[in-house]
Amino acid sequence: MRVRWQLGLAVWVLAACVPAASAQDDLKKNLKDNNVAEHWIYDDIAAGFAEARASGKPLLITFRCVP
């Protein structure tokens, strides 16, 4: 419940390593990231910062190893 409450208070960015849109699609497919929750901005740090600036919310950015 507490985590669900926090979701609305932060901008969530899931970062890997390939910024281009087409590469994002390949990355999602390769990692089977087909059901990424809507609150995540997928692999686009700049978009996360833009939303944080617009909303006044802090950012939570995760980096994960892509096998």
């Binding site: 507490r2 985590v3 926090q6 208070l9 932060a10 970062a15 890997a16 390593c17 390939v18 910024p19 740090i45 910062f49 944080a52 600036r53 006044g56 919310k57 802090p58 950012l59 939570l60 950015i61 995760t62 980096f63 994960r64 190893c65 892509v66």
Partner: protein, 322 residues
């Protein structure tokens, strides 16, 4: 890591997963994610509960911003030599630049430039390095203090909660590591603690080998230090069967990956050899100490001498550094 701003995002590159909390202006509230090894040891310092608590603490810092901005300045690292990973010479680039590629290329380049130091190798010390075992579900609550450690000397007790270190507000064990990583070997660190309902302040005095830790598990130690030479400590049974003392130097050569370690193969070293001395040194070393010794004792262009056991006979092999 392609395109990621290395001036902003600096962390323990050998993790498989980590978190940054930031303000939209780039101010870092904190980090989450601590790794101490492979297998079972890869998750000894993380939990869902401590992640949740780090979120709560980050939100508290966000609510206090910008009044607390000066306290957070130290959470940003120094300007890196290269702004993005793809600019680092010799970095591996395939479909992805992995986080550990950043560190391994940095280590390799420093060695090639004859600038590699012990301080480059011992990275992101754990709280245990200064005598603090933290509660894994809290991250900042002290579970135990090692007798005779810097933490004990500073008067820190089990049950205390670390609030700040070197003036930086803390949200996780990763934040403790960040301060330790940035600190020189000989230093003093101001710490504030919550003890019961009150607060107390103390100073940690650090010197000596407190930064030294296990680096054998780190992905970056492969290309960064081993560079194709993979040798692991010989087990007790194998030592005994070869008549080697339990505390003697003994490493089995597991792999000599080509082309990186090709020079070693050309010099006569083989997979399966048991190295019983390096440069005549026979005293026991950990795997971390061995791979550190290789690079710190021998610059590029140097030669190294292995004494190996092969088919029951001793052989001397002199090899160029690779």
């Amino acid at each position: 890591m392609k395109g990621v701003d290395l001036g902003l995002f600096q962390f323990d590159w050998d993790q498989t997963w980590c978190v940054f909390y930031l303000n939209a202006d780039g101010t870092i509230y904190g980090r989450y994610g601590t790794r101490a090894g492979n297998g079972d040891n890869s998750t000894t310092h993380v939990s869902i509960e401590s992640l949740r608590r780090s979120m709560v603490r980050a939100l508290e810092l966000h609510r206090g911003y910008p009044a607390n901005k000066s306290q957070l300045a130290g959470k940003r690292g120094p300007k890196p030599e290269y702004a993005v990973a793809e600019k680092i010479p010799n970095i591996e680039q395939h479909h992805c630049i992995h986080c550990h590629n950043v560190r391994e290329a940095t280590l390799r380049n420093k060695w090639l430039d004859k600038k590699l130091t012990r301080e480059d190798i011992w990275t992101f010390p754990l709280p245990e390095n200064i005598g603090l075992k933290m509660d894994v579900d809290d991250g900042l609550l002290v579970k135990s203090v090692t007798r005779g450690s810097p933490a004990a000397a500073a008067g820190i007790r089990p049950g205390d909660a670390l609030v700040s270190l070197a003036g930086q507000p803390l949200i996780s064990q990763a934040d403790i590591q960040w301060v330790l990583h940035q600190s020189p070997v000989k230093t003093t660190l101001a710490a504030t603690l919550r003890r019961g309902d009150g607060a107390t302040a103390t100073t940690l005095s650090l010197s000596g080998d407190w930064k030294q830790s296990d680096i054998a598990w780190r992905g970056s130690s492969g290309p960064g230090l081993r560079y194709g030479f993979w040798a692991t400590p010989l087990g007790a049974g194998d030592r005994a069967s070869r008549g080697l003392a339990p505390d003697s130097f003994a490493f089995r050569v597991r792999n000599l990956y080509a082309p990186r370690a090709g020079k070693l193969r050309e010099a006569g070293l083989r997979e399966g050899d048991v190295i019983v001395a390096v440069d005549g040194k026979v005293d026991s070393m950990t795997e971390s100490e061995f791979i550190t010794y290789l690079r710190l004792a021998h610059p590029p262009g140097d030669t190294i001498r292995f004494t190996v056991l092969r088919d029951g006979r001793r052989e001397e092999i002199e090899a160029p550094m690779w």
